[in-house]
Point group: C2
Chain length 271, copies 2
Amino acid sequence: MSRASLSERAAGRRVALVPTMGALHEGHLKLIKVARELSDTLVVSIFVNPAQFGENEDLSSYPRRLAGDTEKAEAEGADIIFHPSAEDVYPKGSSTWIDVEGVSTGLCGASRPGHFRGVATVVLKLFNIVKPHSAVFGLKDYQQFVVIKKMVRDLNLDVELTGVDTVREADGLAMSSRNVYLSARERKAALSLPAALDAGKLLFIAGEREAVRIAGAAKKVIEKEELAVVDYIELCDSLTLEPVGKLGKTTLLAAAVKVGSTRLIDNVILS
Amino acid sequence: MSRASLSERAAGRRVALVPTMGALHEGHLKLIKVARELSDTLVVSIFVNPAQFGENEDLSSYPRRLAGDTEKAEAEGADIIFHPSAEDVYPKGSSTWIDVEGVSTGLCGASRPGHFRGVATVVLKLFNIVKPHSAVFGLKDYQQFVVIKKMVRDLNLDVELTGVDTVREADGLAMSSRNVYLSARERKAALSLPAALDAGKLLFIAGEREAVRIAGAAKKVIEKEELAVVDYIELCDSLTLEPVGKLGKTTLLAAAVKVGSTRLIDNVILS
């Protein structure tokens, strides 16, 4: 992979990377489309990164569909599909980790200790292997994008980052590889998550600026849904991810809910 | 710095980096000589890295001599002297850190918590800014070299590392920027450190293979010296830095002593 990339770079071609964990859906395909426009050589990595899963999380059940994913990514214009094994990425004895402090602490970082350490580490490794000029990430994983932007700045990396808006199903549910876990009843209950964000957004548009009221309104929507349990609903500064009391110009309203055993996240920017 | 390096690389020239904290002595000059041979374009960085000093350590008193250092480095053939400010390297809000677990734990890592986190982070940042093909480090800081080698491997970095043997004063004291702290009496007492390593080595050559006996013999030498206090004397596997009980083929005998308020380190390979 590194040799291919170095030879593309040496020939003056721009390399873009879309890092994925596979099980590609329309959200990923949009990332690939955006990256296609940014690049001469487009690399899509497919790697279910064990380091970003907690002990009791869904690493073993996470959907793996390499053949179909390759086909989909190539249909969108991917030039190289990079799908290393866990042993390729973390050879025996690997013990170097990247901590992006501050922005990794709240939201999903609080619910999933070690998650962003695993994310930052694998993304840095992928950057070092693939050597892209630019990389494209989805903004459904908003905190992930903030963590990676911070890492890129703090570690003086020469990679341009692009965040792409969340792609949604017709009924509003954010596309996620984890949606396949949902039963029919759970799938319906999951709609309380985008509905909760909508409720918060409506209140904001109506002029509400107290975070506690906006979060409260969103929470109510989810609490009406028997199968859904709130993990967090928070309003944060969209750059630092620090919780806000009174909303300023640009605030992130982010939420995570458990629907059955499936954990779903979503967010909206209030501005 | 990055632009200069990218243009050198694009022109097919090999870039080498010697990262230093300045106060250059003969040991550094040897690193520069070795790097000169490896490179077309030789960068010497001079940066007293606050992140690798503990709270009660000598950050504020650490010798700073930029003008003289620049002259010395250029006399040895340095093409570029890179001397960023602390604010350049750690802009306000920097919060990303590299943990190289395992090899950072023992020896100086035990006495100086956070030290190798600071070292690994600054070296990765320097690598990302300077983009060298190769980098040269001194083996007096043996654990540092092992930590950086591990980081380079674990993070898939394309930097070739070279370790250079310790340069010593005529009487055997390892060259160190911290030797200037020593009073005349302390300077004499400091000789107990190389003498202790010699005692350990002699015992090894005589056939001794029990780590506890070799460490004991070394310790005795330092304990005879009133002004010197042992921080650690340890025998470790030279690759993993794990303590050994019975010596194998290649063992690191490493020691740290405090002479007055000055902490000195030194080591020898027994093989």
